[in-house]
């Protein structure tokens, strides 16, 4: 049994706050008790090991996420007020680990239907399928001009749509609209070390998901998507849309900078 006073002196010494008198008192206690001396030695090992552990590096997407959220809080008190407000809502903290689909926003008619994220090992998984019958409503549109875009006017097989890229605080937001009169498979690829932070599908998609370096979907009719990447898409030409029907490529186009 070690005296409480001895324990206290040990802890003061380990914290470097013991006075000379306390240190001398501890020395006497330890000399008189091999059990206390052993305990002090072990406690010291624990403390030294604790202090040898470095701080963990946060994920690289943390900083842009914070700044986007702060920016949203500054610029847009109303959540629906344009891109900044949308980003504020977009970057609202997840309360649950999200790997799947979810729906919300009946009041505004906005349905957020899926999200993807990194797993613990650094890999990430795609969302599950979506029931088109569950989709309805409208969504607010971002008002600023995009930094880059893919336009699908005069595309094959009646395909129509647009892909707009916005970059803010190092985060790339892709606002995509695709209208296909027939069933198509589409893939939106992006280069570099970008990772998908989040996908929203307000309407129209039958199935969508993500793999490393791309997001993809299958749909008939109109579909809109908002995809958030963890960094800048550089060059913007690294963003490529490919639409396939029955194994044949209908269109394959790269993003281009938008002149402002």
């Amino acid at each position: 049994m070690i005296e409480p006073r001895t324990i206290e002196l040990m802890n003061l010494e380990l914290d470097g706050t013991a006075t000379d008198a306390q240190r001398e008192e501890l020395r006497r206690h330890l000399a008189a008790s091999p059990v206390a001396a052993s305990h002090f030695e072990e406690l010291g090992r624990v403390v030294r090991s604790l202090e040898a552990r470095p701080l963990v590096e946060p994920p690289p997407q943390l900083h842009p996420r914070i700044m986007a959220a702060v920016d949203g809080a500054v610029r847009s008190p109303a959540p629906e007020a344009g891109l900044a407000g949308w980003m504020q809502g977009l970057f609202a903290p997840r309360r649950r680990r999200v790997l799947g689909t979810f729906a919300m926003g009946l009041a505004t008619g906005v349905f957020l239907l899926a999200a993807v994220q990194f797993g613990r090992s650094g890999s990430w998984e795609a969302s599950r399928g979506i029931d088109p019958a569950a989709l309805s409503g409208t969504m607010s549109s971002p008002t600023p001009p995009p930094d880059a875009a893919i336009v699908l006017d005069a595309a094959a097989d009646g395909l129509d749509g647009s892909i707009n890229l916005y970059t803010e605080h190092g985060v790339t937001v892709i606002d995509a609209r695709l209208d296909a009169p027939h069933p198509v498979d589409w893939t939106l690829g992006f280069g570099g070390d970008l990772a998908v932070s989040r996908i929203e599908a307000p309407g129209g998609a039958a199935v969508f998901g993500a793999r490393e370096g791309e997001v993809h979907g299958r749909q008939t009719g109109a579909g809109t998507y908002r995809i958030v990447l963890s960094g800048r898409a550089e060059p913007v030409e690294s963003v490529v849309l490919k639409v396939v029907r029955d194994g044949g490529v209908l269109v394959e186009r790269t993003a281009s900078p938008v002149r402002q």
């Binding site: 305990h39 072990e42 090992r45 624990v46 604790l50 963990v56 996420r65 914070i66 613990r120």
Partner: protein, 184 residues
């Protein structure tokens, strides 16, 4: 304008309040790593730690006018981080309670694995069985090198309570490690 990195925290707060948002970004860059680590140690989940870090800085920005310059900015923002982490921990109900029975249930570690690396890994796991009160003082003292007084200010508890919790927390850590055969 001189580099914001050379400014004190109080100066950065004043810059920010005068409309310079880059000043706040400098504060974010300075504190995002320690704040993330505080949340990670308390919540034990990298995703939750990301969420809390984001919330902490948004709240700090929104409440910046209420920051008292007589206080240290780091203790103010750490306090927000601690409170947010505790709230999140309660919501998710994933707080593990330290019980003597927990240690007995843990598998023993083999003699030959007693080295510094193993001890370090075992300590990491042992911290997770501490209650939040004890985990917080261990994290603030040993991972962030705060003094008794600074921890008292961050947690808003008396300094003697900090000492008491810290001493007990270390003892519990050692008990867990002894039960696992890592320490004597």
């Amino acid at each position: 304008m001189s580099s914001l990195k050379a400014h004190t925290d109080a100066e950065l707060v004043r810059e920010c309040l005068s409309g310079n948002q880059r000043a706040f970004e400098t504060l974010v860059r300075k504190y995002e790593k320690p704040i993330y680590n505080v949340a990670l140690r308390i919540l034990k989940d990298p995703d939750d730690a990301m969420d809390i870090s984001q919330t902490v800085f948004v709240k700090a920005y929104e409440k910046l006018e209420s920051f008292d310059e007589k206080r240290e900015f780091f203790s103010w923002i750490y306090r927000i981080a601690i409170n947010e982490s505790i709230n999140a921990s309660k919501k998710t109900r994933r707080q593990d309670e330290y019980e003597s029975g927990v240690t007995a249930a843990l598998p023993p570690t083999q003699e030959e694995q007693r080295n510094a690396e193993i001890l370090s890994e075992e300590i990491e796991r042992a911290i997770e069985v501490l209650t939040l009160d004890y985990r917080m003082v261990i994290v603030l003292r040993h991972f962030h090198d705060f003094s008794y007084q600074e921890i008292a200010e961050i947690l808003d508890i008396p300094e003697k309570t900090v000492k008491s919790r810290l001493f007990t927390a270390r003892q519990q850590l050692k008990d867990v490690l002894t039960a696992r055969g890592v320490t004597r």
